[in-house]
């Protein structure tokens, strides 16, 4: 069975089917937890595939300015003026750090 499993591993790795090479599980950061919620519309790790703004690689200050603008109504929105009010300042900061640390996708960000 051990040999069989080794063979399977070899097969699997040769086929390049698993990218799960992490060591001991790392704690999930607050930013990652919150960003998982945003991912529904903005894509995993902020890589939107259509129309909704890409958040990966967005400058920290620009992210916070946008969210504060949504919150106080100075920035126009269709949903974000509601959703932005659901998060604390510490949570917005954690999200800003999370997205700023990610590489921006090669294609230019879509949307407004």
């Amino acid at each position: 069975m051990k040999t069989m499993h080794g063979l399977l591993c070899a097969l699997c790795c040769a086929a390049g089917t698993s990218a799960a090479l992490a060591a001991a599980p790392e704690p999930i950061t607050l930013g990652a937890r919150l960003a998982a919620s945003c991912a529904a519309c903005h894509g995993f790790e902020g890589r939107s595939v259509q129309r909704t703004p890409v958040l990966a690689g967005v400058d920290r200050r620009a992210f916070l300015d946008a969210l504060h603008g949504f919150r106080d109504g100075s920035r126009e929105a269709t949903v974000m003026h509601h959703l932005a009010r659901g998060y604390s300042e510490a949570e917005l900061a954690a999200l800003a750090d999370y997205y700023a640390a990610l590489p921006a996708p090669a294609a230019p960000a879509q949307g407004k």
Partner: protein
Amino acid sequence: MTFDRRQWLKAGGALALAATLPACSPAARKGAPSARVVVIGAGWGGASAATYLRRWAPDVEVTVVERSDAFISCPQSNLVLSGGRTLESLTVPYGKWATKHGIRFVKGEAEGIDATRRLVTLAGGQTLPYDRLILSPGVDLNYDGIPGLKSPDSRADVLHAWKAGPQTVALRRQLEALPDGGVYVLTIPKAPYRCPPGPYERTSLVAAYFKRHKPRSKVIVLDGNPDIVSKKGLFLTAWKELYPGIIDYRANNALVDVDVAGRRVITEFETVSAGVINVVPPQHAGRIARIAGVVNAEDRWVRVNHLSYESTAVPGIHVIGDATTSTPAPKSGHVANQQGKVTAAAVADLLAGRTLHADPSISNTCYSFVSNEEAINVAAVYRVDSGGATLKLAEGSSGVSDARSALEAEFARAWAANIWTDMLG
């Protein structure tokens, strides 16, 4: 019988098997994953939970049990009725997704759950051991209170189309076969039911189809509720401005029975004749929830702790999506997606011996099309209350669109593309 690796090999063939095993993680190389999680149901909740659990706990083996080969989205399936989308455009096959994330995908039906021994039994008799079990049961439709729809024949005629798939296409065909001047009747059950604005979106989109192809036809809505349940003002404005004279909405008109042969709908107040009858029946937590013994709210739904979505009835079993009592959050695909992620994080934390996050939040963004070209939304953030016993609206975070628009339709289609990629990409 427990499926071991050897039997998997026999069942699936070496390459197919290798593709579904999370066998390259260090834990797996040593011979065994750190823990086993079984997810039953790969809809909005289950698929999201499985995807994020593999991301957040790569050393955990995740097995998904699902009866279908492909996901079909209920959200935006009303557009099939109006010709605004095809069913194919709402369909995402599971194969590539499972391979990419190292998920063991088992096509089948779970028939038994032994919460003491932590074993799931499949219809074929195979067993799957688990350390934590995640159920995404969805809803079952309940025809017990509708005598005329007891038989399969009657239900092949009077459709629900409340689970996207063949019924969605069949309802479109019924509408196509209806002569100009014919009547379509939609009945809405008392809340709570899956997708609160869904019936009113359907009303709008059938009216859109009639306006263009059958201008003398009418939509009659018999609502078991005292009023339009969601986005009321926006729907009423759209109906008045886009479909004058087509929609006849009747509140407080609960269904009593259907005379299928006579093509009549009987409510508490009246009898209505129609060419096409579309009954959305009352709903309850999907059957697997009953099998697991987690149905403990009004004998219909599942009560959970919203910090982890663990059942309040049975330890080790997490339940997400429409089957749960998560008010004030609606029974929506978006909410199930969000609950799947909170659950994935909680299960990863529990298996690693970490403390649960004390203040998780979920959001809902729910678009409804009022025509093929324009949409509206309701959005909100929900946070845990009473230590996780319930959810509450985050103050000031809830609202609907100012007005219907083509921009929102564009965002709605982008929402679908993004959330399907998020959970199944």
